[in-house]
């Protein structure tokens, strides 16, 4: 029984660890500037995790194999423990875990402890059940005024844009997010109803959108393309369908797009969505 248990534990360990080596079932290729550091931190962590997992399971299997009840020994080893061992393994574990914890803050700090650099490309994001609204400020780089009282879903004014405001003249609102490649992007995140979350796996970036708050986040994307965008916080029955796309465009293409008035903006977006393909699977 002990030997069978040890073997099964070891087989399960081997199979579990192997899953993490399958290429096609790994993170998608990253497209953001902080991703390299983040992926590296993940790799370090998962290696520590894998080693600890394997060591514990191998150790457990070894114990149940070797210390099965048998005729050779009449008694187990009588010991209540070892204070020395306790101190050693507590300290070593603490160093590794807290070390990982401290290392794991640096990417977070770089993204969250400082404001977006001045001159960042700004988009206002207004989430609702069950669609994404991206508000582009246009060439004047000033957002037109929005007012909840002006929201009219059936009239297609999803974000309550005040048409009377001169700054709103060059604004555009679309369900797809278009950002530049190689420049910092600042998103101003809002919600109309419940909590949502904006997520693009390739960006290695996620943030809740909380009604009643404007949350500002920033990052830099560096690979042009089209990427799937999902909602990552349960927001209602069609949460799974709250899908959109992220378009990362070269500067000139993006500049041309954002200079367009609303109706042409829509058309151009459709063209760009057709032009760029989703990345190949791993």
């Amino acid at each position: 029984m002990g030997r069978a248990l040890a073997v099964i534990i070891w087989i399960l360990t081997l199979l579990s660890v192997s899953l993490f080596f399958i290429d096609k079932w790994w993170f998608p290729t990253a497209i953001s500037s902080h991703a390299a550091a983040l992926d590296r931190q993940f790799l370090i962590t998962i290696i520590v995790v894998g080693l600890a997992f394997t060591a514990a399971q191998v150790g457990l299997g070894y114990m149940v194999w070797k210390y099965r009840e048998d005729a050779d020994r009449s008694r187990a080893t009588y010991t209540h423990g070892s204070s020395k061992l306790e101190v050693i393994w507590t300290v070593v574990t603490a160093i590794i875990f807290i070390g990982l914890a401290v290392m794991g803050q640096s990417v977070w700090a770089s993204l969250r402890f400082n404001d977006a650099p001045p001159g960042s490309y700004q988009v206002e994001v207004v989430a609702q059940q069950f669609q994404w609204n991206f508000h582009y400020p246009g060439t004047d780089r000033v957002f037109g005024r929005t007012d909840p009282n002006l929201i009219d879903d059936s009239g297609l004014n999803f974000i309550g844009l005040d048409e009377a405001d001169p700054n709103a003249k060059d604004d555009a609102v679309h369900t797809v997010l278009a950002i530049p490649s190689g420049r910092p992007v600042e998103l101003l995140l809002r919600s109309k109803d419940v909590i949502h979350n904006i997520w693009v796996p390739q960006l290695r970036f996620k943030q809740d959108l909380v009604p009643g708050m404007v949350i500002r986040v920033h990052f830099t994307a560096n690979t042009p393309g089209k990427y799937e965008l999902a909602c990552a916080e349960l927001c209602g029955q069609l949460h799974f369908q709250m899908k959109s796309y992220l378009l990362v465009l070269p500067d000139d293409e993006l500049g041309a797009l954002t200079a367009l008035p609303q109706d042409q903006f829509q058309t151009r977006m459709t063209e760009l969505l057709a032009k760029y393909k989703l990345p190949a699977q791993n």
Partner: protein, 619 residues
């Protein structure tokens, strides 16, 4: 066999009549069994819901005739609607976390065995004890009512997940199932809070006040330490959930705005412009998360600590060796309990709260991994140099260690703020918490069941069926939950009714199906457990007082124990709880009540019974 006893002070005479003996009983043993029975029913409901979820995810768009018959609204033409799916998610989580993981380990086994293990006749407050069970049962009935009252919405309850984030949970018009079903959900949880608090009060007072002579704190079995710490966690965290629940109910019914900000626009209506959507303003959705998770994090330690205690206890018993590092284990339990109150923000890194708070929570979170690791090392230390008897209880205890490591170690990933950016709200999180709560904790309960069944019912469970149950379940849970890490890494989000919308998820479909098949097989294997349990109550092989040759106080009395546990003679304790393999002793175990170690006669060579429940047998 034991040393001196001292006369007990009779607190209440043995009851007569079926109702007083088995229904409205004041006896902690009966109440413990009632809690376990409640959990056994609740887990069936929870498991059924999870199978339905897996079916929907693996074979979307399939017509399931039985579903269409049972739930014509929620599954028209046998195809589950997304809201029906989400209500399954919500109710599965709520029922499992509250009515399974917070009942059986503490209210069930804790109620039954804490008084006996400390040498008391009953809990400090038997009437409160009875009340705590019945209040909990009422809570369960109310949550089941939520299933029926949601029929109009074509769901089986609310759709906000067991975490019920506001404003989705605070606005009745935010989705189907968020009306009456949501109200009943909140009320059920509030009732559960009260039941839990009554129980916690009893556990703490009993342990502090009613230990028998000689039972110092450091001579208590680790199970008692675990139940005590769990009770303290419950005492200090459930009131916060109750407070939050009351605030949520007021937001929904009384027009307050604790969690609801202004300017909301739902289904074409702006808040305050129509009677269907009353005015709310100024509230903070994040406040709900703080209140919920301040409770929610200690709650997960409430779910696992009793299992850790049982594992330590059972590993030692069947390793025929003392627990390695008893004091360290006690400190680790305290550390986990204490630190458990300071890490709740790791559920909220990207909630919009201050990133500096997030960093603090992150570092504290990884610190809590240290006492958990220490416990694991000590479990391995307990097995080192052992003479292991592979009873079913022992197999599940060993399984606990394996699964706790598997689940807990990924906390190192999720606890880091940076790594939470890709992993939050993906199946990586689902894998993590299911392995620790839904598996390791349950293995602790299985181990406790097989171990203590003979004491509770005077009969042994069938070992062959038990071992079969173990193997299928152990392999099955690995197959179900390890692949979920992979799903999370690729980017599969949680709480999605279907994955058909996203190209990048298509590659995971074979894994999704594999997990579902493993889940169905594992759930079916539990039939063996239920059968074994019920059959053995009536037909199991008779057990004596101490079939396992164990050392703690419950094994000094009859199986099952008499009404006052010790037949009027409370035991006196002379030594610690894990005196196995004492050098020179005649037997390989010395009970806590043994005043003097009987030494082995030189050359006698006898070793006593094998302690597998069969005299003289070896495995």
């Amino acid at each position: 066999m034991s040393g001196e006893t001292h006369e007990a002070v009779h607190r209440h005479p043995a009851p007569t009549g079926f109702i007083r003996k088995y229904i409205f009983s004041l006896d902690h043993k009966v109440i413990g069994i009632q809690y376990i029975m409640l959990a056994l029913v609740a887990v069936l409901v929870g498991m059924t819901m999870s199978v339905l979820m897996r079916m929907n995810l693996s074979w979307p768009g399939t017509n399931w005739p039985i579903l269409g018959t049972l739930f014509p609204g929620g599954a028209p033409d046998g195809m589950m609607t997304p809201e029906f799916y989400l209500s399954l998610v919500t109710m599965h989580g709520t029922i499992m976390v509250f009515f399974v993981l917070t009942t059986a380990p503490q209210g069930g086994f804790g109620n039954y065995f804490l008084p006996i293990q400390i040498g008391a006749e009953d809990m400090a407050f038997p009437v409160l004890n009875m009340l705590s069970f019945w209040v909990t049962l009422v809570g369960f009935i109310v949550i089941l009512a939520a299933i029926f009252f949601s029929g109009a919405d074509s769901t089986v309850g609310p759709i906000g997940g067991w975490t019920g984030y506001a404003p989705l949970s605070a606005l009745p018009n935010a989705g189907p199932g968020q009306g009456m079903g949501m109200n009943l959900w909140i009320i059920s949880i509030a009732i559960f809070c009260v039941g839990s608090l009554l129980g916690a009060l009893n556990f703490i007072t009993t342990l502090l006040n009613m230990r028998t002579r000689g039972m110092s704190l450091m001579r208590m079995p680790l199970t008692c330490w675990a139940w005590f710490t769990t009770a303290v966690l419950a005492l200090l965290s459930f009131p916060v959930l109750l407070g939050g629940g009351i605030l949520l109910l007021l937001d929904r019914l009384a027009g307050t705005s604790f969690f609801i900000p202004g300017g909301l626009y739902l289904s074409g209506i702006l808040s305050g412009t129509d009677e269907r959507f009353p005015l709310h303003t100024g509230g903070s959705p994040i406040l709900w998360q703080h209140l919920f998770w301040f409770f929610g994090h200690p709650e997960v330690y409430i779910a696992i600590l009793p299992g850790m205690g049982a594992t330590s206890h059972i590993l030692s018993t069947f390793a025929r060796k003392p627990v390695f590092g008893y004091r360290a284990m006690v400190f680790a339990i305290f550390a986990i309990g204490l630190l458990g109150f300071f890490v709740w923000g790791h559920h909220m890194f990207i909630s919009g709260m201050s990133p500096y708070s997030a960093m603090t929570f992150s570092i504290l979170t990884l610190s809590i991994g240290v006492p958990s690791a220490v416990k694991t090392f000590n479990w391995l230390g307990t097995l080192w140099g052992a003479r292991i008897r592979f009873t079913t209880a022992m197999l599940f205890a060993i399984g606990f260690v394996s699964l706790f490591v598997a689940g807990g170690i990924t906390g190192l990933v999720l606890g880091q703020t940076s790594l939470d950016l890709p992993m939050h709200d993906t199946y990586f999180v689902t894998a993590h918490f299911h392995l620790v709560m839904g598996v390791a904790s349950i293995f602790g309960m299985f181990a406790a069941t097989y171990f203590w069944f003979p004491k509770m019912f005077g009969r042994l469970m069938n070992e062959s069926l038990g071992k079969f149950h173990f193997w299928i379940t152990f392999i099955g849970v690995y197959c179900i939950f390890v692949p979920m890490h992979t799903m999370g890494i690729v980017g599969m989000p949680r709480r999605f009714a279907q994955f058909t919308e996203y190209e990048y998820l298509k590659t995971l479909h074979p894994l999704v199906v594999f997990v579902s098949i493993a889940a169905i097989a594992t759930v079916l294997a539990q039939i063996v457990f239920y059968f074994n349990l019920l059959w053995s109550i009536f037909k199991g092989k008779r057990a004596g007082e101490n079939p396992w040759d164990a050392t703690t106080l419950e094994w000094t009395t009859a199986s099952p124990p008499p009404h006052d546990n010790f037949a009027g003679h409370l035991p006196v304790v002379y030594r610690g709880p894990y005196e196995f393999a004492v050098p020179g002793a005649a037997n390989d175990f010395v009970m806590q009540t043994e005043p003097e170690v009987i030494l082995q006669a030189v050359g006698s060579g006898r070793e006593g019974t094998s302690g597998n429940g069969h005299d003289g047998h070896r495995h």
